[in-house]
């Protein structure tokens, strides 16, 4: 299932995210360049909740990339850390929040539970 970053962030909802530590708090701005335009998303992370809005306010972490880079991350096709190392994505500010951002976006769509992978392949050495 492929999705754009736009769809993904809209779908996030306001429910409790039990996968985020209670102690993580901060603001992240995503700047997605698309030709001459740049779209902004503003994520406020606190108390295991993520609030998404549109704002150009300064944030603890600012992440910039081409829109298609964000789309690939939102589709689970591009690894956030690899994108950073490749310089397809640039960051400014508190890198610790980038690590939390990894949990906001999904992993690869074809990923398996290790138990399922083990059962599927049998156990020959």
């Amino acid at each position: 299932m492929s999705s754009t970053v736009d769809e993904h962030l809209r779908r996030l909802g306001s429910g409790r995210r039990s996968d985020l530590p209670e102690t993580t708090a901060g603001t992240v701005r995503l700047d997605a360049r698309d030709g001459a335009q740049t779209e902004h998303w503003y994520l406020t992370i606190a108390d295991q909740h993520i609030q998404v809005s549109r704002s150009v306010d300064d944030a603890d972490l600012v992440v910039r990339a081409e829109r298609q880079v964000f789309d690939r991350i939102a589709g689970g096709q591009l690894h956030l850390a690899a994108a950073l190392l490749r310089n397809e994505l640039t960051v400014r500010g508190d890198m610790r929040l980038l690590m939390m951002l990894r949990r906001v976006f999904p992993g690869p769509p074809d990923a398996r539970h290790p138990r399922q992978a083990a059962a599927a392949r049998g156990g020959r050495p």
Binding site: N87, P108, A111, H113, R115, A118
Partner: protein, 681 residues
């Protein structure tokens, strides 16, 4: 020379030239930023009069033109004084000892291949753009792949001719005069707008040009002082502290210095090596532990990812920053293929609190610790029998054996047969047991969750008795190395039984049998416990995990033996390890061959063995701590020495912990009997 994950390896003259067998050159963040750095005077290479390693980041060479056969009356000598920190600096001083002026051509040959550390044997050809700027005295070498940019900039303080392959100085040095230039090599990781990536990170803004000397002095002063009757032991202790200092780096995502695994192949964050190093060094350099825990918590797995072997709650195996990681040629941008790091994370968190009393950190890391504990049952119980198992999902680049014995053929029975996957190696069950017990303590005492604590304790107790029933080999009197997918035991005798004692999963009545195996002739070589006991078909004294001896492995065995009161066996093994390290001198190697000590009389080193290595340097500290019987007991430091015969007296002063600072004293039994001689100080 080492400064975190930046390091330079060259020859005796200080020249560096790429070699397929060894990582020669200047490296940082998993990229080679200099593959050629060769000094000549009038076209001639230099010979070395002396080399002085001043600190881990600073070396001075005194050189003369020509080779050893004809330099005796040299009129010219060269001092090459270099250091690494965030950049590489080399000061060249040319001295003229003659009564006449000397006209000389001094040249530094410069080349960069920008190889990734994973491809040293065969670096791929890269097109490097070379940009000489003679007016500024600068040579720029740049590599680009899409937006990925790495750049080396060499700048000279003295006027210089610059061409594509180096820098040339045509100089005149007056009689008894000297000439000097400062060369500075900057390494850039391309980030936004052509600036270095690190410039935009909070974690790195404060780190630039921190005084390395000052840092080293602070490090040394914070650690306890050891005074031993055998001076070699004191020297070894100082050496290990210095090596641990060298092997600390500041990751991109975090501000504190944390341990890399070691030189030369593993100058990167490895979860297992870092966690064990922290566990080993808590009485000596406890500052490593909270930073490592925080960093690993930040990088904790959040989703399922087959390529990176990631699952929610899992703790990192390896982190790299090079081109191979960036482009997914290796899964090391964040690789999670290790089954032991996650329980060890919980073990370290608890052990650190027991030493430090830092309940604030335990509260802050409640969520990651809980995720780690949940991972054991949710993602590692692969066949549903309750054992922690591994089976890689990345068939191309994943590690087959995701335990500390991670070489491909390491998990085999006495006859050399490999079990199928998923595999449950025994020490993983010990770690899981320990993690649950320690998680229970934290839940009860810090997190205020007694119900969860009860549950973890019940699970740990059940695991302990199930483990004893399923892994114990009654005919052989030890625990199986592993269980195969259908629960069939892998019957080899291995050093892993030492890990079991360290983790506490062994019932008391079994301890004596295991101790006799560990210190017996098949496992104990005289220098240390072999990974795999002699007398079994796959045994090979030069096989990394099939007979060779690892200090880190031995440190856990000795701690385990003391835990169960098997003091003579503990002292015997520790004595062998100390003798090995003192005999070899220099940094403690990662592994030595498993030949019997009586046969070789000298510890045989293996070419694969790196040094220094964090968990080897840490291992020797842990051995000293175990011999002294250091343990936190409530708010006090407990000291319960059991020293090898002939060890003499030892004092460890200012051991840091929740008690502030406390001193520990010990003497071996033979010394106890002697009349007291003059004090050590």
């Amino acid at each position: 020379m080492i400064a975190g994950n930046t390091f330079a390896i060259g020859d005796a003259q200080g020249d560096m030239e790429a070699d397929p067998g060894e990582p020669f050159g200047l490296f940082s963040f998993d990229t080679r930023f200099l593959s050629r750095w060769v000094l000549t005077v009038d076209g001639e290479r230099l010979g070395t009069l002396s080399r002085d390693d001043l600190t881990h980041f600073e070396t001075r060479f005194v050189l003369v033109p020509g080779t050893a056969s004809h330099y005796v009356d040299a009129d010219v000598s060269v001092i090459r004084h270099r250091s690494v920190e965030d950049a590489f600096s080399e000061q060249l001083i040319v001295l003229n000892h003659a009564a006449e002026p000397a006209d000389l051509t001094v040249r530094i040959g410069i080349g960069v291949d920008f190889a990734d550390t994973s491809e040293i044997a065969q670096p791929r050809p890269r097109s490097v753009v070379v940009n000489p700027d003679p007016a500024r005295g600068v040579l720029r070498l740049r590599y680009e792949r899409e937006r990925f940019v790495r750049e080396t900039t060499v700048a000279s303080s003295a006027p210089v001719e610059v061409d594509d392959t180096g820098m040339t100085f045509r100089i005149r040095v007056e009689p008894n005069g000297q000439w000097r230039t400062d060369l500075r090599v900057t390494m850039t990781i391309g980030g936004e707008g052509g600036r270095d990536l690190r410039e935009s990170l909070q974690s790195h803004r404060h780190q630039v040009r921190r005084e390395m000397r000052e840092d080293l002095r602070d490090w040394r002063e914070a650690a306890p002082r050891l005074i031993a009757e055998r001076p070699a032991v004191t020297e070894l202790y100082e050496r290990c502290l210095a090596d641990l200092a060298a092997l600390r780096y500041v990751p991109l995502a975090y501000t504190g210095r944390i341990p890399v695994a070691g030189l030369p192949w593993a100058m990167a964050l490895y979860g297992r090596d870092s966690l064990l190093t922290c566990l080993q060094t808590l009485p000596f350099t406890p500052e490593l532990a909270p930073r490592t825990l925080r960093m690993l918590a930040l990088l904790q797995g959040g989703q399922l990812d087959d390529e990176h072997e990631e699952e929610p709650g899992k703790i990192l195996a390896e982190l790299r920053y090079g081109e191979a990681a960036a482009f997914g040629e290796k899964p090391t941008a964040l690789y999670y293929g290790a089954a032991d790091t996650t329980p060890l994370f919980v073990v370290l968190l608890d052990e650190y609190e027991r030493w430090s009393g830092d309940t604030v950190l335990v509260r802050q890391l409640r969520h990651p610790a809980r995720m780690a504990l949940d991972w054991i049952d949710e993602y590692a119980n692969l066949t549903g029998d309750g054992y922690l198992r591994y089976q890689r999902r990345n068939d191309r680049h994943g590690t087959a054996n995701q335990c500390w014995k991670d070489s491909t053929g390491a998990i085999v029975d006495r006859h050399g047969r490999e079990p199928g996957f998923p595999r449950a190696t025994c020490e993983l069950q010990g770690y899981a047991y320990d993690a649950k017990r320690r998680g229970a303590r934290l839940a009860r005492e810090v997190w205020g969750d007694p119900a969860y604590a009860d549950r973890l304790e019940r699970e740990a107790a059940a695991l302990k008795s199930r483990f004893d029933a399923d892994f114990w080999l009654p005919d052989r009197g030890y625990y199986a190395l592993a269980l195969g997918p259908d629960g069939e035991p892998v019957d080899a005798l291995t050093s892993n039984i030492g890990h079991l004692m360290w983790s506490g999963i062994v019932p008391d009545h079994r301890a004596g049998a295991l101790a006799d195996h560990l210190a017996g002739p098949d496992l104990f070589s005289g220098w240390g416990v072999r990974t795999y006991a002699a007398g079994q078909r796959p045994y090979n004294p030069v096989g990394s995990h099939l007979g060779a001896v690892w200090p880190s492995d031995n440190a856990l065995a000795v701690a385990g033996l003391r835990r169960y009161g098997c003091d003579p066996q503990a002292a015997r093994i520790a004595d062998g390890m100390l003798a090995m390290a003192c005999t070899l001198g220099g940094p403690v190697p990662e592994v030595i061959a498993g030949y019997p000590r009586a046969q070789t009389a000298y510890p045989v080193q293996l070419p694969v063995a790196g040094r220094p290595q964090s968990w080897s340097s840490g291992a020797l500290l842990m051995l000293l701590g175990s011999l002294l019987g250091l343990a936190p007991c409530g708010e006090n430091l407990l000291v319960n020495p059991a020293l090898p015969e002939g060890f003499g007296r030892v004092e460890l002063l200012d051991v840091p912990g929740r008690w502030g600072h406390a001193d520990a004293y010990g003497r071996d039994r033979a010394t106890d009997g002697r009349s007291r001689r003059s004090p050590l100080r």
